[in-house]
Every structure is written in C-alpha cells, then in structure tokens.
Amino acid sequence: MGTGNYAIELRELTKTFGDVVANDKVSLALERGEILSLLGENGSGKTTLMNMLSGIYFPDGGEILVDGKPVTIRSPKDAHDLGIGMIHQHFKLVDVLTAAENIILGMKGKGRLDRKAVAREVRAISEKYGFEIDPDQKIYDMSVSQKQTVEIVKVLYRGANVLILDEPTAVLTPQETEKLFDVLRSMKADGKSIIIITHKLREVMEISDKVAVLRKGQYIGTVDTADTDPQRLTEMMVGRSVSLNIERPKTEYQDLRLEVKGLNCRRDDGVKALEDVTFQAMGGEILGIAGIAGSGQKELLESIAGLHKVESGHIFYYPPRPDSDLARTGLHVPTDKAGEELVGKTPTQIHQIGVSLAFVPEDRLGMGLVADMGMVGNMMLKSYQSGKGPLVDRKAPKALAEILKDELEIATPSISTPVRRLSGGNVQKVLVGREIASSPTVLMTAYPVRGLDINSAYTIYDLLNEQKKLGAAVILVGEDLDVLLELCDRIMVLCGGRVSGVVDAAKTTKEEVGLLMTHIPTDREEADA
C-alpha cells in the first residue's frame, strides 16, 4: 500500500512547550473512509497533535502529508484549504446569528450573499448525512447538541474531507450520542475520514475502526478495534494493567444530613438557574447528580455552600448522631435537632458547620485553588483566619500538605512549588484532599475526576467511598454516567434547573437517566412507572 492511499499521514511530529515535550515524534496514518479514535489520558498530547493538524500550533519537527503530499499548515485557514476541519470542544459560534449565517461566516464569497442558495446547500448536506438542522434557526435557541450539529455542518460545507472531533460526546446525552454516531457512520460511508478524540472506552469500541493510543506524548501504537477490548486499551493507555471496577460499599446506617426544600435561584445574568429543587442527602451515601452541562449543578452546589444567592427556599442541615465517628472528631458546631438553616449564612460559617465543597471548574484552577501558591498556601485557603494575631500560622498547613503529599502520592518537587506547575491529576488531588482533610459531614464535589488519568480517578473514587463509610453525606456531580451508575447509591437528575427524578443507581439504566436528563416526567407518567 503506497502512501498515496492515506488521507492524512503524520511523520514524527514533535512539539515542545518550554521543557515539556507534548508530542515526541508521533506518527499516525488515517485512510479514507475510516474512523480513527485517538485515545490517551489527559496530558498525553492528543489535543496538541490535532491542533498541529488543524493549524493552531506549528510543529517543532516532523512532517504532515495530505493525500501523500507534504504540506505546511500554518493557520486554521491552511487546514481548511487542505480539507481538514476541526470541531472543538468549545463551540465557536455567534449566538445572535442563524445556523446558515454561522456556517458561511468568514468565508470568501461574491459581493452578494445568496441566503437561499446557502440554505439549500445546508439542507442538502443535512439530508445526505442525516442531520436535523434548520438553517434559519438562531444559535441562542439551540440545544448543545444542535449547536454541535451546526459546527459539523459548517466544516462539511467548507469541503472538509477530514474531520477532527475533540471529545464530542462530553456534552451529549446517551441518546444524542447515538444520533451523532449514526451521522459519523454515514459520513464514513461517503468516504470522509474522521478522527475522534475521546477517553470513553465504550464509545471507542462502538464507533471506531482503529484506535491510536498516545501516552505521555509518545505514540504507543494503532490497533484494529475488532481485535481489542477496553481492558487491553486501558493497558496501552496507562502502561500497565489496572482494574476497571468501581466499588460501591454498603454502609451500616444512613441518617438525614441535608434537606433542600423548594430552592430557587437565578444565574448572574438573571436567567432562572434552579426551580423548586427539593431533595435529601443522607450521611453514609453518595448521592450522584446527573444532568446536561449547565442544568443548574453549579448553582445548586454553590447555593448550599453559601456562594450563590438564594431567591427562595430552605436548606436544612442535620448534624451527625452524637455517637457517630464524625461527631467524635469534635470539629463541628453542635446544633439542635430541628435542623439548621444554611440559607443566609456566610460561606465561612457554612464551612465551619462541616459542609465542604470541592468544585473542579473547567480550567481546574480558577476556583478553589491559588495557582501561584504552593500546596502550603493552598491548604490554608479556608483556615488562614484560625490562628491568633495578625500573622498566618504556616505550621499546621505545612504539616497537612506533607501528609496529603504522602497519602495521596501527589507528585510535586516540593510542597511550596506553585500548584500551577503540577499536572491536572495532582492539582485535583490537592483540591479534593484539602476538602476531605477538614473532615466534612457533607462533602460536595463537582467533576472531581475531570480530565484525570485512570489511576488518579480511581484514587479519587476511593477517597469518596472512604468519606461515605465514615458517615459523611457525599454529593457528587459527574459527567460520566457509567461512573455515576457504578459509584453512587442514588442519582438525582437535573433538567433545566428542575429535579426530573431521583433513581436508585443500582437498579436504573443509562437510558432511563439519559431520558430524565432531557425530559421532566409529568405526574401521570410517574404514576404509570
């Protein structure tokens, strides 16, 4: 087989950032009419590699061949001209324009804009591949999955033969993912080549013909999907064998810890974020919260932590029983039996009561950690006020940092190295570790394994289970439904800021949860079920 058969061929591409080698002589080949999964843990260099292909970065070494010819890609426009289109994780669309307008945006054309012709062509592409898209719909009226469709059509409209999708399913429900995969299959049948970046093994197995694996910037190998399985792929990714089972330990007792009643709040821009949210969280259980990104998860956790203004409703806190392990730590302010209202308290007061929040934002550092400080400085973020006098006490946080570093195996040159320089997994261990160290009675955490390598993710799951066994009420907002189903005791599903259902994680299915994510059952439906 000659090189001319490859749609794309990468030869020994190298890219360094400072002293970090993001891609070390990575070679890769993609045939026409093929779906290739690019698999690798965070920081393995997947996105860097694709960014070189789509003209965002320029390689330090190596070459790129398109249809067998060496090319230079200096800008996204060069990539377009070569028929390479990338669909990024974060959409690049103009909200106030229509789908069709976004699709032609930035393209060179004749003086006059023929909207009808554009709409016609958009419809033709949609029909060909099975998209559902209305060219005249405005972006702000669209769901996340519709916006993604616009991005894909945009790339196709510009004549792309090679499509790169960066974690396209992260924002989709299981049903929407299925639809996307159908579209990808029909594009493949049409001779398009597709590279899909993902770390969800099940999807890799389902959609791709071949899997290319990267590890720490190195190219490990390419295998036919038919010849492999998740276990083997994980080993290629991690470099050694790992167990893929998540534990769900049973706890002896569960007592009511947190009760949210009729909670309403608005986002900063005035849009309603939570509507009449009511639920209970028990000590000794993990309550999962599922929902499409932006369904009110963040506002809910922040409201409980006192960081978000509550419009109306109540949040009651019930302390652990006096004979429980948690109560014995003696760290928590005793309250009367009726439950203590948290609405109206300051974040510091709520934290002192024992309600702790570890929120891992998209950029992982913007909130909860101070990037320029070392572990010590970050340990004292919530406790720096505790010592007497005007000076801060660094001894206690220093000791805590040392303990966490050893126990969680945090890889850092020293506990005073700025956390900005640590890898994502270690940053998250610092954050989650700090919250757990305050021995909370309610531990809320959002996306704690976001972007983590498999090993670190399992360490975090273990930490959460440990807190659950101690009797803490763990509230976990997660992205990966498979994980939620295995780890949690109950799952509450949010849909557009409302609770669409609370299900028993051991008995429910991914499909049921997926349905609840987009649809709030009416009373009758519930009665039928």
Binding site: G18, D19, P70, L82, G366
Partner: protein, 366 residues
C-alpha cells in the same frame, strides 16, 4: 489540489514561553541588557561630542561621591522606595494603582496644613506625629475613593486613579495661588511659605530621618505581604477573585483596606517630601515619583528588599543626569534619554527571560 500553493516553509521567528530559567542565566541576560544599554547610551553621548567613559564617570562621581552628592542621591531614593512600597500591596492584588502621585500630594497637603497653621501651638514631636498621621489619612482616603467605586460599581481603577492625580494637583495650584500663597506669604508671592523649624524633620547622618522610616517600612512591608493574614488575602484576591470568594473572603472589604494602606503610605511619603526634603509644599512635591515608583516596584517584582536596590539605582541615574547636565552642558532632555535607555533595556530584558526566540530551522533543538 489546493495544497500546491502552500509552500513548505516555517515562520521566520517564533516565540516559546520558557517554563523555568536558571538563576545564573537570568542574571546573565540582565547584565547583558545593562551593558547594551550603556553601549547604546554611549553612542548618543558620542553623537553629542563627548567621551562616553568620562560622562559615565561623572554620573557616578556626581551621585555617589561622599558628602553632598551622596546625601542628595539618598534624598531622591527615599520617596522612590517608600512609594514603591506603597504601590506593592495594590499591585500584588492586581489593583493597578497609578495614582500614587495624587496620594503623595494629598498627604503632603494634609501635612502642610498642620505645618502652616499649627506650628506654634504644638510641641515639635507632637506636631510631626500629627502631620504624619494627617498625611496617612489623607493619602489613604484618596486611595480609598477609587477602591470604593471599583468594589461597588466595577469602575476601572487605572483611569480612576490617574484622573484623581490631576484633581489634587490642581488643588495644590489653587492653594499656591490663593489661600496658602499670597495670603500667607509676607512678600505676596504666589508660593506657599517655608515651614517653621518645628515642622521640619530632624536629620540623621546628614539626611532627614525619612530614610530610617522607609527602611523600617521595607521590613514591615516584607512581613506584611509574606507572613500576615492580610498579605495572604491580598495574594489570593490578586490571583483569583473567584477563589477568594470561594474561600469566604470579603473581597470588596479587602480591596478597600488594601487601597487605604497603599494610599496611606504614599501620603506618608508626601509628608516626608514637604517636611524633610523641601520644607514646603509646591506643585513639584510629587514630581513624577508616583510614576517612577511603579517602575521600581515592577522591576523589583514587588519584593520590598529588591526595591531598595532599584530605588537606589534610579536615584543614582537621576542625580547623575543632573550632574552631567551642568558639567558638560548636555541638555536635560538628553540626560533623561540616557536614564530612559537604561530603564527600557532593563524592562525589555524581562521579555527574554520569560520567552525563547526560535529562528527558522532552529526549532527541533537537541
């Protein structure tokens, strides 16, 4: 195929951020920058028809030789260091206070009020303490205004602090021309009269005791920024307001408190200027110190102890520039150019400490 028109060529120059640079290498770059600055400056001196070595020699002699020259240099360094210290907490909080100039003047006005109208009624020590306190409060309030607006309405502090400079400078001119000038001055000049002896700072080793004060302030500021709870809060707010809120900090209160402190110290420098350096209030009391101090603070990376060295260096340059003006009749603007060149190279070299420039074909190193 459309690929044909794209040549196989990489960009001529590329920049790569350095992750970490070895200390000796960073200092080598800085040394090279100063050397280059001296060479460039030397060319200008040559063009003016003088010998660079002689001119540089007299700059150093004129600012560092024992006695009067050295005392004058120290006198210039005191407010520079003090104002850089004042700016440090605000900058660490990423609150771009470029209003130190106005805060100095506000403090100077308040101190001058007591110097002009209370000198006879108070004992010397009490008078000086009252002047200092008034200067701190006035400077602090002048710093508090933009902070309060920023905390409440999110106004832009850079523009706000800059504009406040001109208001207070205008007020000084008004005082000079009216109520504190001809009305107080026996000969009717539009000038604020010299302070009475009681309102002047005592001297130590030939220079007003402000130098002891700013050195003490340096230590205090170092401890405040690095070891105090306030300093910790400032660092967190500067890094990320979201994180500060998440930690339960009252961000607006921290911003206001820090700006009061920043303005207060700047105001104190105003007191040192009128009571120590010049003995009266003029429109040149601040004289650009508030802006030069930004350079000092920035070059020192907000480290109080490094600020001592930078402030000294700038004072030497300034005093040296004065000297060569008189000796060689080099125009003031040319002398200032020399100072400017040195600063430009020093600030510019930080870029090369942070970034690596890669030439075409040199990319795949090692």
């Amino acid at each position: 195929m459309s690929a044909q028109h794209i040549e196989h060529k990489e960009p001529l120059l590329r920049l790569a951020k350095r992750d970490d640079i070895a200390r000796p290498k960073a200092w080598a770059i800085r040394a090279a920058a100063i050397l280059l600055a001296l060479v460039t400056g030397g060319l200008i001196i040559l063009a003016l028809g003088h010998s660079p070595i002689e001119v540089y020699g007299s700059m150093i002699g004129g600012s560092l030789s024992k006695g009067r020259a050295l005392r004058e240099t120290v006198k210039k360094a005191i407010p520079l260091l003090g104002t850089a210290l004042a700016i440090a907490p605000a900058f660490k909080m990423k609150f771009w206070n470029i209003g130190a100039e106005g805060q100095i003047l506000a403090g100077a006005i308040a101190a001058s009020y007591f110097a002009l109208f209370w000198a006879e009624r108070l004992p010397k020590t009490v008078l000086l303490v009252v002047m200092a306190a008034a200067a701190v409060i006035a400077g602090g309030l002048w710093g508090l205004i933009p902070a309060a607006f920023k905390a409440r309405w999110g106004t832009n502090e850079t523009l706000f602090t800059l504009m406040l400079n001109y208001i207070v400078l205008g007020f000084v001119k008004y005082l000079q021309a009216g109520p504190w000038g001809p009305d107080l001055n026996p000969n009717g000049y539009p000038k604020i009269p010299m302070f009475a002896e009681a309102a002047l700072l005592p001297k130590a080793l030939g220079v007003h005791i402000g130098w002891i004060l700013v050195l003490a302030l340096t230590v205090l500021m170092f401890v405040y920024l690095n070891y105090s709870k306030h300093g910790y809060e400032i660092a967190v707010v500067g890094e990320s307001v979201r994180t500060a809120q998440y930690a339960g900090m009252d961000v607006p209160a921290i911003v206001r408190r820090t700006m009061f402190l920043s303005g207060g110290i700047a105001g104190l420098m105003g007191f040192l200027q009128v009571s120590g350096a010049s003995g009266s209030l003029t429109e040149n009391t601040a004289g650009g110190i508030g802006f030069t101090a930004i350079t000092v603070a920035w070059l020192a990376k907000l480290d109080p102890f490094v600020m001592i060295a930078i402030a000294a260096l700038l004072a030497v340059l300034e005093k040296g520039a004065d000297t060569i003006q008189t000796i060689y009749t080099i125009p003031a603007s040319a002398a200032e150019m020399l100072t400017g060149i040195i600063l430009f190279f020093m600030l510019g070299c930080e870029f090369f400490i942070n970034y690596r420039v890669i030439l075409r074909g040199k990319g795949a190193r090692k």
